[in-house]
Structure formats: C-alpha cells, structure tokens
Symmetry: C2
Subunit: 257 residues, 2 copies
C-alpha cells in the first residue's frame, strides 16, 4: 500500500476515555485517522443499534484530527454512521478500544467494543477490537504498545479473511512480563449472576446486576482465557455467523420429520 | 417428563405486545408459564445488558399468571433476572417472541428476541427465539400456531445440544401456504444503511438509521433466508461461540511469528 491507510477508531467507553486516546496515538503512527465514538460510556451495549429513536453527532477537538465526532448512539451506531454517512470512503481498518476491562470469551456478545469490530467485519472492513484486562480508568495501556502495533501492522499488510475481525485481549502485565501473541478460540464460559437488591429513598426495590466469571474449560490450552492467564495476548478470529453447525444434522432429523 | 415443564416467556417488543400474548397462550397449553419481559419496546437492543444503571421489576396481571413481571431492562436482563432472582428454579424452556418482524440471518446479532434465547442457552436452558416476518402490530400470529407447537414439543421431548438455542423465523403466509419446517444455517447478509438526516425545530441535524437488507448468497438453498422466501419456517441452531475457526490456522502463521 503506497498511500497511507485510512483508519477509523471507535470504542465503547466514550470518546474521552484514556483507552481510545492511547489507541488514537498508535493509529496516528500508522495511517490517517478518524474518530467516531460514543459521547458517553456504552459498556455492555452488545450489538445494540438505535432504531426507536434518533441519532446526533457533534464535531469534537479532543485529538486534533480533521474528522472526529462524538455520537449519541451505541458503538455499532458509530461504525454504521461513520461508514455510511460521515466518511467519504470506506476505511481500510477499524480499531475499537482500547477497552478498560476484559472482553475474553463469552464477553464478546455483551461487549460494545467487540460489537463495533464485528460490525466492521460485516461491512467488509478489516477490524480489530482491543481490550486491556484492567478496569481502572488510569490503567497503563503503554505496556503492550509494541504488541498492539505488531497486530495492527500484520492486519494492514495481510488483511483478514472476509467477515472476520479480531478480538484482542491483553493481560494486565508489565511489558517485559508479556510472553507474546497467541491465536486462540473463544473459551466456553459464562457469568454466574447475582442481583444486588437495594431500597431507594422511597422504600422501593431496585437491583444492580453483578456476577462472577466462570470458565467452563479451565484446563483447555487453546482458549483466550488460558492465554491471558498465562501471560499471552490473545487474538480470537471472530465473525457474526452464530450458526451451531454441529447441531444441524441432529435437528434435521428431529424437526423436519 | 411427568410433571409439567416450567416455561419462561420473554420478548423484545414489550410485555403487552400481541406477539408475546400469543406465545403465552401456546405455552400455557404445554406447561407452567412465567413471564418476565421488558416494560417497553427493546427492538435492536442486541445482547445489551444494564451495568451502568439499575433495574426495577413490577408484578403485572396481563396474562393471569402467578408469576409475571415487567422489567425496566433489556431482553437479556429479563432472562438473567428471571433465572437468577425471580424464579425458584431454572426453567425447563425459555421462549422469546413472537417478534413482530424478521430475525433472519445477520439480524440475529441485532435482535433482542434472539439475544434472550442465546442468553438462555449460555445459562444452560433450552431456548427458542421465534419471529414472524411481519412488522405490523396486528400481524396474524395464529397461522403458524401448529408449527410452533411442533417445534416447542420437539425441544421439550428431546432437548437441545448444550449451549445451542433455536432461531425460528416464520414467513408471512396463511397456514395452508406454509410448506413446513426447514433446519438451516444463518445466511451471509448485511444491511446497506442509509442515514436519513432531518432538522429539528431549532435547525439542528438529527438522523434516523434506515437500511435495506441484502442477502449475499441468494442462490444458496441451505440458508434461513432461502427457506423463508420459499414458504418454509426456518430453524437455525444458534450459539454464542463467535470464533471463526476456519481463520485460526492462517492467523497463527501471520501473528504468532
């Protein structure tokens, strides 16, 4: 590629989060950068889109870029709007993140960060969702900078299979403790939920959703959870096809009659 | 199963939508029914969960059931709350729908109806999301009643593979025009978006997300879109594993170095 690649950056923690600021600084080294990101935190929004109400965008000046907008919608809205309304041509790459917190395993379906990347893949753009397994606002994103650049560079040079994006998760380690990059599958896991019931000042109940992450295959070494727990940055090729192919034959027998 | 199965019914169009009312009437014939559903329309909410704010539930009397609640959250919140807070034991089956409108193909990732079913599967409960390809409030859900009962009955008798739910889509046809049930894979499709820009009374721009559905493989006969277009009720086994397995080997080569 002779001309600079066009890179769209988005996230789900909102346009002013430290994670997206660091990702923009990396992207600037690698191409021409645009930012379209939510105007407020959108964690846990999954693949939500705004169809029962309207969207607004606002030009911002956080990153000194020619094109940067905050958007009232979800991360997926941001990608759709950037590609179909705000950009003159499709980007060569979409980067989503860096998320403050893990998007390992089952979290891919709840994650706004990853949903933005999946949406990019659906729209035919090589896309990478990046998450640091540290929920702190002041998390140190710089420790893994070199690895992130390596991954982005590989995608810019070689592309990705059609419809596939990457789910990148970085363990909370110092740069010299990170062992490298591991390509993995999504671990089979779930959240064991607990609803914390409280009373409002008027005596009425309300609930906070809380939970504990449970890896259902802790000994399997080919999963993203294992890789992270063992010091590796995990990379899971991810697509929007949720068909359980292994169940097709059995169901044909029992359903088609 | 000697005792009556315990069936949880939810949806994404809200607890008073005609589609859920019809589904409750079917479920009542087949087991003991509980309803936990959103208190307002939640279309397009995907797998969103409520983590930045709180949830409330309200006992309702729409269906004359002992246990029925409207919930301020998303369809996935409803399933999590029902299983982990409102029910004494896990349900034997979760039914989500009947959605007013298609959840074929790529719509599985945007759909609150299907996300509730996927969440059920993740939590280990056989789950079925059902959609009628008719967006009208007064859509005629009764035409496919016999087929819906057949599908539910098969799942109650034989269960589903672990982690797998069903995405059922019904074409808008009269009962004698419906050709039967076809077990399919999710078609590869996308939405070609258009953002309809308008001006508010104060001269500021706002946008409506609109789009046109595009099936990228119109001649493939093993997809849910083909089945629906040809008069069949489509049944797609669906799971939360979004790993693109076919991409693992190539990426290992390019990324792990």
């Amino acid at each position: 590629m002779h001309k600079k690649p066009l890179i769209l950056v988005t996230n789900d923690d909102g346009i002013t989060a430290p994670g997206i600021a660091y990702l923009v600084s990396i992207a600037k080294k690698m191409g021409d950068v645009l930012v379209v990101a939510p105007d407020k935190p959108q964690s846990g929004m999954g693949h939500a889109i705004t169809i029962n109400s309207t969207l607004r965008v606002q030009a911002t000046k956080h990153y000194g870029l020619e094109t940067e907008f905050s958007c009232t919608g979800t991360p997926v809205d941001c990608v759709k709007m950037a590609i179909n309304s705000l950009m003159l041509r499709k980007p060569d790459l979409i980067l989503s993140g860096i998320n403050h917190g893990s998007n390992l395993s089952i979290n891919v379906i709840y994650s706004g960060t990853m949903s933005a990347a999946v949406e990019g893949a659906v729209e035919g753009v090589p896309s990478i969702g990046i998450s640091l397994c540290d929920y702190a606002h002041e998390a140190d994103f710089t420790q893994s900078g070199t690895f992130i650049e390596t991954i982005i560079d590989a995608v810019l040079k070689k592309g990705l299979p059609k419809g596939v994006c990457l789910n990148v998760n970085i363990p909370k380690l110092k740069s010299d403790e990170l062992k490298g990059i591991k390509v993995c599958r999504q671990a089979n896991a779930l959240w064991l939920e607990h609803f914390d019931e409280r009373k409002d000042p008027y005596g009425r109940s309300y609930y906070w959703l809380t939970g504990e992450f449970k890896n259902l295959e802790p000994t399997a070494k080919d999963t993203d959870v294992w890789a992270n727990e063992n010091g590796y940055i995990s990379v899971v090729p991810t697509h929007a096809d949720m068909t359980a192919y292994e169940a097709l034959a059995g169901l044909k027998k029992s359903m088609e009659g």
